[in-house]
């Protein structure tokens, strides 16, 4: 009843093209932002922030990045975790070697560095596509994995290959408490989401989608495959790099080379398939689902009186992930985001069927 757009007339192009054309959506978004800015820091426990909300926000950034590449541009990538790793190690080396640098500058630089590496490994996408490209991105994954573990300069000669970060300092603000970390990540996520959303609505985004739908046809109508594909790789890797730096500095604190392994890449792919390929809100849903499912698996069997061992839990988790991927691809290939859209559509005309 409340969700109606009656009487909301668009009288300018700007009004017609705004991100959320329906007034109720705008209010909802404002309420959501206000809630996450004020209510969450006040109400959420440190545990919830540290174990659930911060990983969710960071993974969302990474998922948005991967979604740009796979969902919007149609270039399948199984190497996204490696690009996160590039960001993380770059940020580590920057803070170590140039300690006076502002953390925001470090983040941007690690994103840019990851983007460069992404472009380098994206070049094969101009010659090969689909399944073959998956192998090219796997090459990136394994090569970078090896580099993180073996190139001593990257880990500053630490004997075990693991690195630990120093506290985050920026503009006199020491990001130490979970609430501080939460606000930092939230702010970055808002900016990056807005940027990505607008990018996909611009001519660049349209070039990506044309390439995804049929690259030869896109080429024929004047989309340059070189710039479309490489820009998708660059933007995607930039997001992955920023997410990786945050994952290392804000979430993990200290990590081993295996932190950015191929499993992480597969998990990110899982998130965007479940959430919805080619959808911003889908990246949020996918990441939330991925963070919440293990918690659910921890709680649900115990409340039913079944005790599962840790190994068993991870196996059941893998089975559920796998089953859901197949289920979603078969029933709703556009993921949770599509269900959300259907729900909204139903709500708009409720209680009438049409």
């Amino acid at each position: 009843m409340l969700y109606r757009e009656n009487g909301q007339f668009k009288t300018s192009y700007a009004a017609d093209q705004q991100l959320l054309p329906i007034a109720q959506d705008r209010w909802f978004m404002m309420a959501l932002v206000a809630c996450s800015l004020i209510a969450v820091p006040l109400l959420a426990s440190d545990y919830a922030l540290r174990a659930l909300i911060i990983p969710f926000l960071i993974l969302t950034i990474a998922a948005i990045g991967l979604n740009i590449l796979v969902g919007y541009c149609g270039q399948i990538s199984v190497g996204s975790a490696a690009f996160m790793g590039v960001g993380a190690y770059l940020a580590y080396n920057l803070t170590l070697r140039v300690p006076q640098l502002n953390f925001l500058v470090v983040l941007v630089l690690s994103g840019l560095g990851a983007a460069l590496v992404g472009i380098a490994f994206g070049i094969p996408s101009l010659r090969i596509k689909g399944l073959y490209l998956a192998v090219a991105t796997l090459a990136a994954q394994f090569f970078l994995d090896w580099a993180f573990a073996r190139v001593r300069w990257l880990t500053a000669d630490s004997p075990s290959g693991s690195v630990s970060t120093r506290s985050i300092q920026m503009l006199g603000w020491t990001v130490e408490r979970p609430v501080d970390k939460y606000l930092l990540v939230l702010g970055l996520l808002c900016i990056l989401t807005l940027a990505a959303k607008n990018l996909t609505r611009s001519h660049i985004g349209r070039a990506w989608m044309a390439t995804r739908d049929m690259d030869v046809a896109a080429d024929v109508i004047g989309v340059r495959p070189l710039s479309a594909k490489l820009s998708a790789f660059a933007v995607s890797s930039f997001y992955a790099g920023v997410a990786g730096a945050l994952w290392g500095f804000v979430h993990l604190g200290s990590w081993e080379p295996a932190a950015f392994s191929v499993t992480m890449s597969f998990n990110l792919l899982f998130m965007i398939i479940i959430g919805g390929l080619g959808s911003m809100v889908g990246s949020f849903f996918g990441a939330a689902f991925f963070v919440l499912l293990p918690v659910l698996l921890n709680r649900a069997p115990a409340s039913l009186g079944i005790e599962l061992s840790t190994a068993m839990k991870s196996h059941v988790e893998a089975m559920i992930f796998g089953g859901l991927i197949v289920l979603f691809l078969a029933i709703e290939p556009r993921g949770l985001a599509r269900l959300w859209a259907i729900g909204k559509e139903k709500l708009r005309i409720w209680p009438f069927p049409h």
Binding site: G74, I76, I123, P124, R127, I128, G130, L131, Y132, A134, V135, A136, L138, A139, F142, F143, D145, W146, A149, R150, V151, R152, G161, M214, D215, V216, A217, V220, V262, F266, L269, F270, I273, A311, M312, S314, H315, V316, E317, A318, M319, I320, F321, G322, G323, L324, I325, V326, L329, A330, I331, P333
Partner: protein, 341 residues
């Protein structure tokens, strides 16, 4: 005027380049005196043996890709599952019975995949199908370990474990050859022969090749697509079982078996994805290349860049294939395909 030989050379130069590079890479340690002849032959043989094992897994990829156009990411999980099943069943019954039961399970699995995954996803894009097999892979890894446990199990095929020393009169000190690997190579040879006969001589094999050529045309002459898919996934399951047995008896049955498949992926791609001889040759090239890179190039790299040990094996195959794909995207024996709008 273009001479046909020049035209062919222009098309085949990546292959020529690869062969030259490999020959140079092979000869380098001998020429530079980094290895004695005996050691050189030993490394070469070791590489060939590993390559044979890679080919075994790559065959599974090629079979499914040929017949259904699905790039089966779950091949590694299938290898793990088949090996786990055999290893755990063999604790309670004689080994041949366990193997037979595992085979029955793999056929059942093929049937389920056709029913639950391939049929609902018919006419979806290749990338969707790839992601679906990723889902199968997750599921099978979780399921296999949930049912059979996640320790390291052994399969004892009764293969001789002791290496033998041959060629003592040819090289100083002779060379070490693992008998187990020799048996494995023999098994692969027989398997390829059987698969070749099956594909070329039987009615089912002909139907499989017809489906691989053109789904619609095959269906219109009365070949039941669904049954063909079950058959081809069963055959891939059978190949996975053999690979699981051989790898499992060598390394022990554990989760890392599923990772072997990730190594076999570049093998299948290098061979051209649709070619069985390609998978074999690709496996040998990558097996040898990898060993040489690890043993000789790895040392050199570690010296020059002060790296921590070798580990080049982990990515060498991928980078080699990537470089090759850049100049020849269809692989060694793959079909050239032309994009149309």
């Amino acid at each position: 005027m273009k001479h046909p030989a020049i035209a062919r050379l222009r098309h085949d130069w990546p292959v020529a380049l690869l062969v030259t590079a490999m020959a140079a890479g092979l000869a380098a340690p001998l020429v530079s005196g980094a290895a004695t002849t005996g050691f050189f032959v030993e490394v070469l043989l070791g590489g060939l043996m590993t390559g044979v094992l890679y080919s075994l897994v790559a065959l599974g990829f090629v079979l499914i890709y040929k017949a259904s156009g699905v790039f089966n990411f779950a091949q590694g999980a299938m290898v793990l599952f088949a090996a786990l099943t055999t290893a755990r069943l063999a604790e309670h019954m004689p080994l041949p019975l366990a193997i037979a039961l595992a085979l029955v399970l793999m056929v059942g699995f093929a049937w389920l995949v056709e029913r639950l995954v391939l049929r609902p996803l018919v006419n979806q894009s290749a990338v969707s199908l790839l992601m679906a097999t990723l889902g199968i892979s997750f599921f099978l890894e979780g399921f296999g370990q949930a049912v059979w446990g996640n320790d390291i199990y052994r399969i004892d095929l009764g293969l001789p474990k002791d290496p033998m020393i041959v060629g003592t009169h040819l090289f100083e000190g002779g060379i070490l050859v693992s008998q187990e690997d020799l048996v494995a190579a023999g098994v692969v040879g027989v398997l390829v022969l059987v698969l070749g006969l099956f594909f070329q001589k039987t009615a089912t094999g002909r139907a499989l090749r017809a489906v691989a050529d053109d789904h619609l045309a095959a269906q219109s002459v009365g070949i039941p697509l669904n049954r063909i898919w079950v058959i081809v996934w069963s055959v891939a399951g059978f190949v996975a079982l053999i690979a699981g047995l051989v790898w499992g008896s060598k390394l022990g049955v554990q989760f890392s078996l599923a990772q072997v498949a990730l190594k076999a992926l570049p093998v299948a791609i290098l061979g051209g994805m649709t070619s069985i001889p390609g998978a074999i040759l690709g496996g040998l090239i990558i097996g040898v290349g990898e060993k040489f890179a690890e043993v000789f190039l790895g040392q050199a790299l570690a010296r020059w860049f002060q790296l921590e040990g070798g580990g080049i094996e982990e990515w060498f195959a991928y980078v080699l294939v990537l470089a090759f794909l850049l100049v020849r995207p269809e692989g060694l024996f793959g079909e050239r395909h032309i994009d149309r709008v």
